[in-house]
Symmetry: D2
Subunit: 332 residues, 4 copies
Amino acid sequence: MGQRLVQLLDPHPDFEIAALTASEDSAGTSYREAAKWRIDTPIPGHVAEMTVGATEPEAVPDDIDLLFSSLPSSVGEAVEPDFAEAGYVVSSNSSNFRTDPDVPLTIPEVNPDHVDLIDVQREQRGWDGALLKNPNCSTITMVPPLAALEEAFGVERVDVSTLQAVSGAGYSGVTSMEIIDNAIPHIGGEEAKMETESRKLLGEFDGTEVEWLEADVAASCNRIPTLDGHLENVWADLAMDVSAEEAAEAMATYPSADLHSSPDPLIKVFEEPDRPQPRLDRNREDGMQISVGGIQETETGIQFNTLAHNTLRGAAGASILNGELLLEKGYI
Amino acid sequence: MGQRLVQLLDPHPDFEIAALTASEDSAGTSYREAAKWRIDTPIPGHVAEMTVGATEPEAVPDDIDLLFSSLPSSVGEAVEPDFAEAGYVVSSNSSNFRTDPDVPLTIPEVNPDHVDLIDVQREQRGWDGALLKNPNCSTITMVPPLAALEEAFGVERVDVSTLQAVSGAGYSGVTSMEIIDNAIPHIGGEEAKMETESRKLLGEFDGTEVEWLEADVAASCNRIPTLDGHLENVWADLAMDVSAEEAAEAMATYPSADLHSSPDPLIKVFEEPDRPQPRLDRNREDGMQISVGGIQETETGIQFNTLAHNTLRGAAGASILNGELLLEKGYI
Amino acid sequence: MGQRLVQLLDPHPDFEIAALTASEDSAGTSYREAAKWRIDTPIPGHVAEMTVGATEPEAVPDDIDLLFSSLPSSVGEAVEPDFAEAGYVVSSNSSNFRTDPDVPLTIPEVNPDHVDLIDVQREQRGWDGALLKNPNCSTITMVPPLAALEEAFGVERVDVSTLQAVSGAGYSGVTSMEIIDNAIPHIGGEEAKMETESRKLLGEFDGTEVEWLEADVAASCNRIPTLDGHLENVWADLAMDVSAEEAAEAMATYPSADLHSSPDPLIKVFEEPDRPQPRLDRNREDGMQISVGGIQETETGIQFNTLAHNTLRGAAGASILNGELLLEKGYI
Amino acid sequence: MGQRLVQLLDPHPDFEIAALTASEDSAGTSYREAAKWRIDTPIPGHVAEMTVGATEPEAVPDDIDLLFSSLPSSVGEAVEPDFAEAGYVVSSNSSNFRTDPDVPLTIPEVNPDHVDLIDVQREQRGWDGALLKNPNCSTITMVPPLAALEEAFGVERVDVSTLQAVSGAGYSGVTSMEIIDNAIPHIGGEEAKMETESRKLLGEFDGTEVEWLEADVAASCNRIPTLDGHLENVWADLAMDVSAEEAAEAMATYPSADLHSSPDPLIKVFEEPDRPQPRLDRNREDGMQISVGGIQETETGIQFNTLAHNTLRGAAGASILNGELLLEKGYI
């Protein structure tokens, strides 16, 4: 995930990598040594030679405008408040605090107004800095089409089944013995994340707090032998009768954001019933587009399939988009 | 599928392979030549040397008690009635006629009484023989646990997502270029089969006709890179409040049948949240057991995962079980 | 393969797609209909709407400068001479005629002078056009490093084992049932191609004929579950004692060609012992670079691993490079 | 590997599991807890409840006749001599000491006489017990056919390329991110093991020492996405001209041993050019048979493909076979 951040930030027009931090084991070494670069584009040369610092406010230059955090959640829980208190603005992919009432959780194309929860956060916590979260990769994959349906028709219930890629568990998260010729119908903590984060993202922010969407969300999460790209089957019960065509139209026309990393359109709607597919569609629009297909009417709403690149749109790209939102909104 | 039938019938205590038929291209050759044996147990020697006949009543010995049919559905549609009219009893895995009102569709442990629809069939069609169907592999995987829930608590709605193995499409059905590092969210006709067959299987037979279960069933079918074993995520809305423990108990104690190929118990209920898994559990009880896990309460019922071996329990083994039922019930 | 040709030719600075041909079944339809576009970049818009013609000289405009042929070898054998006789210059990837004495077989960075065998060909056959071949994908993968060794030290014997990707067999060539959790130690005809083509490529052209390299070449070809990229283990007995460092130096400095699609350097030499790997290295330099690693001394020479993208460097890209060579040499 | 030992020993007619040991972390717990049972047959009930002891001579009952060791090599190096000195006879799969002059390294069907090196070992080291080794899994796969060729014709040189399954690296040894759609042309230390162990196994024991076979052996080792079964391409230069038929005959008639776990024949020779294949052939004869195919003449000898189940014939089964040999020879 850190590597994807470096890969995306290096050519970014608005951001420049000024410092890198890691755990104590790696602090003091070059990034080339600290990271075991494993993605298929080369490690950016000048970044490779930067010295990695410790992950603590004292070790980071004061004039840094924005920190990106992709820490293990237990570490994020420990150090992110320190950074925010020390005045840093943090865009974080770590799963800690995501459902805290005064921590904004945003997908910039879906609920950009929630970012202003930072004002509440600063007041309550006395921070000069701020902490902004993006959701879990499997949540991001389904929320944009659900937002389109919620806005147009009202969403009352969601059943969602995921077919998740191994990269979502990190480089060593899934062994080959576990997953070749196999699928695993369980990813620890993932179902709860999808069920809570989606309702917060689709909720209303009234300037003081986010009222979560009132909907039953039930997730079933599976790991399958794909490298990248989470595919999800979604059933959405809607508040009114809706045809497949109307649902497709609502998704295809759902507006994107005017941010550097936002794709246009946000949601690609396929007519071919066998799309989207992870290997064919995960890289659309630099891996930032949401692909939807298989839209059908059910007795109580709509079912569809949705796909996103889990380490781009679902993690590193999500944090960077949130950074772009912070810039646009004037928080940095 | 034909190979799996031969593999299972060869050692079967009640049946003996007396004749083999194929399309005209293969008729007249030895089974060894006609079949390109591809499963990992050896081809039975005496079967290998049998001459394959044409698939037409005149080409089959009169004293055959039972025919097993795994024909392409268009062929089954054309020739199965000929055989039944000519006096043969046919246990068929082909998808044609499965939802016809006077064609019994059975899983022997679930709805064995439906087999008596044969009497209605014979009266209506004037057949001396009979035609009995088993359901589609993806339907068989979910129906036993649903039957346990229906009997104990009443099932009102089912959403089901499948993660299906490539063997379900036949030896050449899915190319390697399609499925390595990929998943395909569409299997032609599969969703409709699951939605109709399950309601017929779970319906009531009153001696004259089968009244299908009144329930909304919505399926979403996916192909993934596994060789054998269909895994399914199921949400079942129930007619009463049920705990996960009560649901597990209903499934674990759901009775099996007293037939040679029926496993005991019919349903293995796992407590480990990451089971069942295709590679680890598809071969339980010679591939005839249904494995269930991940049972959880939802707002409106229960969600769970279920797994069965698609070419054993879901196809060849299903037809043979139906043959055993026909024998027990005196139809052969 | 045809799709890869279109993908590479569409943005090519020197070539413009003027006509497309196919078998009679597809002639008359649009390319969009005729091709089932399956690669992960979009089908070029104007090409998609072109009408596909028949594969015969009368159906192709007279003013076409260069034809690319990726026909099945039996078809290539039948029609390629017709085109050459009718005056067309053909750059062909089809395996027919590759070892014919008057048909040049070239890798432009390795044996560009062999292209002048066209003069002999024209004289002997009375053709106004010409027929130029590129070798088989598995041959291309090993010949550049062998050429570096041959030039510097002399190659006397080659044992080569291949780990070949499924795309080499075409979209439907390898079924998923054959290759998931498996490897197949046989690819029909492949070993003979490697053994003959490599010796012709490494041979000397004296202006009249190509004298093949005198060396024992023995290949063993395997299909494995990778999508793209052929990896090969090579043992090369050399005419003198050579250290691993000297061999690496010879390969790393082996000159590339000054052609649009030639990479620089031609051969990337890895020091990391676990590289090259198909997924990580097949796309280097737009899939045109040869990657070598694991260079070690043996009692009689050198062993090393080599990798190339089989459908880019090994097929479509090879034909296009040959087209660039024909242009540079003035044959078109 | 420990699990495979338990799986094979539990039903073994000559051996009974009397004690189990593990590292200090697990000592004192039940085997059920200590082992995370991951193979597809159930954990034997009475073994599951046995308490695991520490891996030190004092913690093991005195009346144990035979110890099986599958320790990490650094641990084996530290403790195996302690056990042998304390009077225990140890059959070990660990890679330490395999090439020590007074440590026998055996494949019972190939070089059973080498086991008497124990007498030399006892004299030199003053041990009451003994230490016997089986070779590495990739070595075992090629040595039986090479032994057949050596005995009949003389082997002078071997080039061997391996396509090894992920289970050879242990349950967590290869991550899914490393190997899906990929191959890795390097396995640390594996090439050296194949080059040395094979020459010791094929050497002559004169009652005092083993004179290694004089032959150049060069190995190139690759990891591919298969679960079990190592496939190898072998080129063997022979001391005389030999036809493919003669080589096949020598292998097919090479004698097996009269031991419980030895298959008959030892080597299955396929005529089909595309066999053996890992998934189809690894389980032949309970995973103990060596499968060979693709036998062809080269300029200097023979090339062929060989396959064995790496965790059965290549590890746990190899150690148990050595235990059976120790029993037959009277060492226990």
